[in-house]
Symmetry: C2
Amino acid sequence: MAKTSTKKSSAHKAGAAGPSERTAGGLDPQFLRRVVVENIYPEIDCGRFPIKRTTGETVLVSADVHTDGHDVIGASLLYRRQGEPQWSEVAMEPAGNDRYTGAFTVHALGRYEYTVEGWIDRFTTWRLEMSKKFGAGQDVTSELLEGAQLVHRALQAGGTGADDRDVSRHAPLSPRVEQLAQWAATLGDPALSPERRVVIALESDLQHAMAARADRRRRTRYDRVLEVIVEPERARFGAWYEMFPRSAGTDATRSATFTEAAARLSYVAGMGFDVLYLPPIHPIGRSFRKGPNNTLDAGPHDPGSPWAIGGEAGGHKAVEPGLGTLEDFDRFVDAARHHGLEIALDLAYQASPDHPYVSEHPEWFRRRPDGTIKYAENPPKKYQDIYPINFESEAWQALWHELKSVIEFWIGHGVRIFRVDNPHTKPYRFWQWALAEITREHPDAIFLAEAFTRPKVMKYLAKSGFSQSYTYFTWRNTSAELTAYFTELTQTEVREYMRPNLFANTPDILHEYLQRGGRAAFQVRLILAATLGASYGIYSGYELGENVPVKAGSEEYLDSEKYQIRLRDFDDPTSLAELVARVNTIRREHPALQRDWGLRFHPTDNSNLLSYSKRSEDGADVLLMVVNLDPATMQHGFVKLPLSDWGIGPERTIEVRDLLSEERYFWRGEWNYVRLDPQARAAHILSVQLPAVLGAEPAEPVPA
Amino acid sequence: MAKTSTKKSSAHKAGAAGPSERTAGGLDPQFLRRVVVENIYPEIDCGRFPIKRTTGETVLVSADVHTDGHDVIGASLLYRRQGEPQWSEVAMEPAGNDRYTGAFTVHALGRYEYTVEGWIDRFTTWRLEMSKKFGAGQDVTSELLEGAQLVHRALQAGGTGADDRDVSRHAPLSPRVEQLAQWAATLGDPALSPERRVVIALESDLQHAMAARADRRRRTRYDRVLEVIVEPERARFGAWYEMFPRSAGTDATRSATFTEAAARLSYVAGMGFDVLYLPPIHPIGRSFRKGPNNTLDAGPHDPGSPWAIGGEAGGHKAVEPGLGTLEDFDRFVDAARHHGLEIALDLAYQASPDHPYVSEHPEWFRRRPDGTIKYAENPPKKYQDIYPINFESEAWQALWHELKSVIEFWIGHGVRIFRVDNPHTKPYRFWQWALAEITREHPDAIFLAEAFTRPKVMKYLAKSGFSQSYTYFTWRNTSAELTAYFTELTQTEVREYMRPNLFANTPDILHEYLQRGGRAAFQVRLILAATLGASYGIYSGYELGENVPVKAGSEEYLDSEKYQIRLRDFDDPTSLAELVARVNTIRREHPALQRDWGLRFHPTDNSNLLSYSKRSEDGADVLLMVVNLDPATMQHGFVKLPLSDWGIGPERTIEVRDLLSEERYFWRGEWNYVRLDPQARAAHILSVQLPAVLGAEPAEPVPA
């Protein structure tokens, strides 16, 4: 009888017993399960939230498994796709200090489950004790008889050795019954010498046979089933380019069309980007439309903010007429696909005063006592071109269903990636429900959270289902800041559920470093983003070094594209497009850059020089980055290489090849000299030739 | 209608909904609860195990509480004695970064429960936003009308503002309805100036009134109820003395009686001990009785090991005839009480071959194939005088009940403290069940685990219900070892469920440091034990400096009292009894030494000098210890004082008084000189006179 995976041990709380399980003695038979399984890693908030992986990745699981006394235990990692009736299992190996580890690979999109079970391995216990006694010269006649009994009992257990058949074994084929009977007889045969019988008792075939038939009726299974949500590779790895399609034309007084914007696709694809992210493409409201530089009065040609969604032509399921029709959009998506680009749309749950929701569903908005709708505010700031939606409306259920249908609508038009605007101003529960529902139907959908907010809120959104998250990257500029932040992101538990997407700039964020640092600053931040992050992005204009703020001390762009058309000359000879293309090529050729894990920082003796390496999961691909964070001045110094991690002796010459310049260097020993002049190069991206004998990267740190 | 405390939010798992709660829209109303409560500290293994306190202690609770958007939240800590229908509550204060803290005191023995809830505080949110706008010179007429509406709504909510009445409020008395109506009217009164109305809106009386009536119908309560088990003070604080009563006489060929042993009570009490711990007092088996120094053949006068329990005269509920009768024992317990001593008995669940269990319940033991009972082994070692009990026996239920009844039997004879022998060789579940059952009846019972085993097993036993635990203290001798170990024990989560009892020696453990170090070594280890640990102990003979092992490299005593009577001359002039008495007096006079928390280590410039301080919970009592860990040689150097923790400026003179020598020193600045010559003194125990202005000790570190 297969047990369901979610059956909780009713007796788990100390002293409690399930009502139907008490026997005459009054004690719960669950108490006979002596093995403890605790402290599973990874586990997010006691199993409340799943961890995240992408197809083909590994889940390395560890747990504390122990029992009273000296008995030897066995531990298995159980896993399956959610909905499968049977568990698959893999034996867990001891890692010391009662910790056991095992791993499984997730191949399919969607959800997987995993848990751990432990049991007393009586045969191995017997084997160990018997051989200790024999080794000490003691008489083991009685022990051999016990061993024979154990083998005999395994025979009788019917070939399964477990009480529930919800585990399909990957153990070797059960030995033939005759073979086990033979072993039982041999062990107990007084005519054979003890030495002879001990040798037979220690045969590995017998050990495997007994392992296959281990009596697991009293096994302890961890009291929770943990989940993995498996997303597409693109959720982990990709280069993103943000572009306003309305600026893709030649006339600053009108929006370009999708057809015109399609002409820009080869440019974007040529730079090696994977995802083309478009700010909202919906009709833009007219009431209170913002003018250039966020002024309150828009002229007749001012296009307004794409985030002021909704007008005569429709709302979130419509296309801004200036861009074209829905069919034009469909063709644009197709064209992008032909260029190897996936389209990401901007999901902004808010409405301009002209949005159809306002007239059709006034109950979806908050009102003042005088009956007027409350526009967006962050007191004392006002955003009169935008009405926030009231997720707590009396009619919230219809509202939530409608908002979810917006996502489904665009999925129906071929979009799988959504960059979500300010998700931290909408209820967590909405996202948890909507994203779970959507991804059950469309496990290939990807959601990027743009939540520049407090750390715990940001993390909670990630836990709640967002595939990727913007981060504090733009505000991490010094060596110390970058090291601390990216160590946290890639070497602590947060990495199990939050994937960073490192945008070097956005329409809202032009960091001072870029304002002041000139062209070299743009090179530095591009290389940092593209090598620290498996997912990164730039907002168009970055490659042209656009760096003028609306005023000193502001992170807003002058003449921000949010409020006006921006025509650009992408053929400007000073463009960084070639560097971008080179970097994106390096990323595609090097698995080390295609994941966030495997990042390590290395000491330098110059705080302007940041050094870090990335390593692929199989350990074979290693890149070392050295970045001069000073955009103005040449910096040089020494970098310390992690020779022992790389399995390289201090006397050995290491060849490193700069993938940006094609130069080769021959290094030796721990500390090696680098010199980076911003005039010539902002950074090294070095491919390290490791000795052929190296195996996989050392296992990721897990809690002991 | 009072809700039960253990009702789990059925909709807690993302996307799930309780079957009876879906409405026509299909979405769970639980989704409207926007506040998140997560990451409560302290919490052991997701609430599986309770934390531990003693009567009168404080539980400081912290949690992450946050929501979407800008709304202000309120957070409460709920607590109650288990079984009480209503929660008490205390408001939690923000500690930064979305963390909130609150505290409650546990007064009664037994179990308490606690949890956290958070809600949107709409009035405070309104108040904050309104005052920002007003401060920015904006028109707040509409806002004031909204405020009036909020107050009006609070009026109508019926004076409770919450959907469930399972919380009894400690908020100030609800204001009279008329007063609230007055406020509502005032805020909405257009005849009054906005300025006037704003002032009224910001009145603190109104704020308190609205807090008392906060609408908590959509509050989020943490999805678990956490437990505290409250034990007697003695579980936290006490000096223990281990003594074999059979050695209290004058004849080495026979056991002394309890009556004779009672004559030793004034000696033990005179040294200031609180607990007198006796090895097993039950009949000792004759079969395979061990002789002196653990030899296999006992002579007619050899008393055998008290841990080989059971003989003709009975088993675990009987008294070894050599010691007397049960009535003699009762009198001994009484006599001890008159001396201010509590008796601790040794609970050793095992049997000699002569124990009545063996003949009456052969099914409670493991057998070999030839039918003989398996004696204790740790292959290749054998312990033929002891049969381990088979807790997995077919008749396990009757067995477990019988074993529990042993504890109840001795409780019936006035014993409340049990030192449990090798609990790690008995199933965890047995302890969880037995200790929970016993302490529900007898919440003043104390259990000390003697589990010298692997760290995770040791910790799991502590979680499972043991009030105190032996530790690795005897094997932590250097400054680095002591610092690391005691930092772990007192400043990490383990302190919430494991209380160390620092025995400086036991009948099984005579550490090499004591073997080699001479008298000074005994002084050092005594002072370390008695000042690092709120609970500590010595085994008799320690004060006499008994330091001879059975052979080089062994931690066993020569002529161990485990296997023979040991007559001692406690009047030996070299005895450390006076030092022990002095130290125990200092412990009784200084609250700083009566708890394990409040321990901090301080740098010294000489690794032979270990320096640490202890501070009482209210911060008033501060002791600084400096110990010369080198028992042979004078050591001197400088100790760094934590001046900022103590609120003392670097120029200020600090008076410290050595409680051992009564000398006073006047120190100034961070680094101060100490000199400790083992010939004269092993350590300083300094009382630090803090400036009168100091308040309570800085809050214990909590996770941010």
